[in-house]
Amino acid sequence: MSFINRLADFQMDVLKEVGNIGAGHAATALSTLLNKPVDMSVPAVKIVSFEEISASVGGPEQPVVAVFLRVDGECSGSLFLLFAETSARVLMNLLLNKEEGGEGEFTEMELSVLLEIGNILAGSYLSSLSELTGIQLSPSVPSLAIDMAGAILSFGVLSYGEMGDQALFIDTVFLEGGHQLEGSFFFIPDPHTFSHLFQALGVPGL
């Protein structure tokens, strides 16, 4: 048993609020980009075995479009923005004012648009988190992958490997008004950063 299993309810609520504020700002940014309303779910804080981390996006083999940023600094962790391929296509069509369709592989142009969208959304997630906590966050350059969810997300849980077989992540789903477009944020704080995070937010730590 590691400490993540001993988090109190109020600490879980604080982490939910982190997801709420981060994804809320990102959803607003997306709404502005698309000029359409964007809804979001109540964030979920999940503590699951490594194998189950991809369960909420369709299992380890499910192909997903992922933008990944590694966050360094006092609050380090991994931030993933995930879309199903169909949703990424819808996003593309909405942004580029295309009617329908788009088949097969994404073009270079589309890939760089996806990466930039990821960059903007992840940027708003992290900057709101930074404002909230007063912690300086230094994100890496974003990186894009279209691959199996398990292969992608496993990268974010490596730092949990030292201390147990479970990881904690904050999952927030957002939906475009017509619900044609769905994406999710997975924020996986590194295990050693929780005490900093709680301290910065003024709640009793671990």
Binding site: E61, G150, S154
Partner: protein, 162 residues
């Protein structure tokens, strides 16, 4: 139809000739597939990190680290009648899913996993007959318990057998 045994992340298992072993969504993790063709005993470990020395706490999950998973896998296969000197090994996975400028250390975990697995197999004198490692893509692998053939599937690069 063979009985399919699932091997999760940081997990390992062994199979006989009527079974096959499957690990899904390997990224930087490495699938270590061992096979004793003489008695048709197969073993698969889904290794996440190279060294158990970084582990905190007393109880560790042996399957998680290359340096503890491989000896444990060999031990379990020996219980089923396999011999280490008859075993052959295959490796798959160990990719580098993302490239992030100069932050090489964590990023290089895939290649480091592969290097460590190779070094440990060498200590046991187990030859690596085939590998499909590295790259920047995920893999799903399935080890046939009767032939030792490792079937590899990926989203970007199709399927192959080694």
């Amino acid at each position: 139809m063979k009985v399919l045994i699932k091997v999760g992340m940081a997990d390992l298992n062994v199979a006989g000739r009527e079974e096959s072993l499957r690990s899904t969504g390997l990224g930087s993790c490495v699938g270590v597939a061992l096979f004793d063709p003489r008695v048709k005993v197969a073993g698969l470990a889904h290794v996440m990190l190279p060294q158990s020395s970084i582990a905190v706490g007393k109880e560790i999950n042996k399957a998680k680290f290359a340096d503890t998973a491989i000896p444990e896998l060999i031990r379990l296969m020996q219980e089923k009648g396999a011999k280490a000197e008859c075993m052959v090994g295959k490796l798959a996975g160990g990719s580098q899913m993302f490239t992030l400028g100069n932050r090489e250390d964590t990023i290089r975990i895939g290649p480091r996993n592969v290097e460590t697995c190779k070094a440990i197999l060498q200590q046991y004198g187990i030859p690596i007959t085939a590998e499909d490692t590295g790259g920047n893509y995920g893999r799903t692998i399935e080890l046939d318990g009767s032939t030792g053939i490792l079937h590899i599937r990926s989203v970007q690069h199709g399927s192959r057998e080694i």
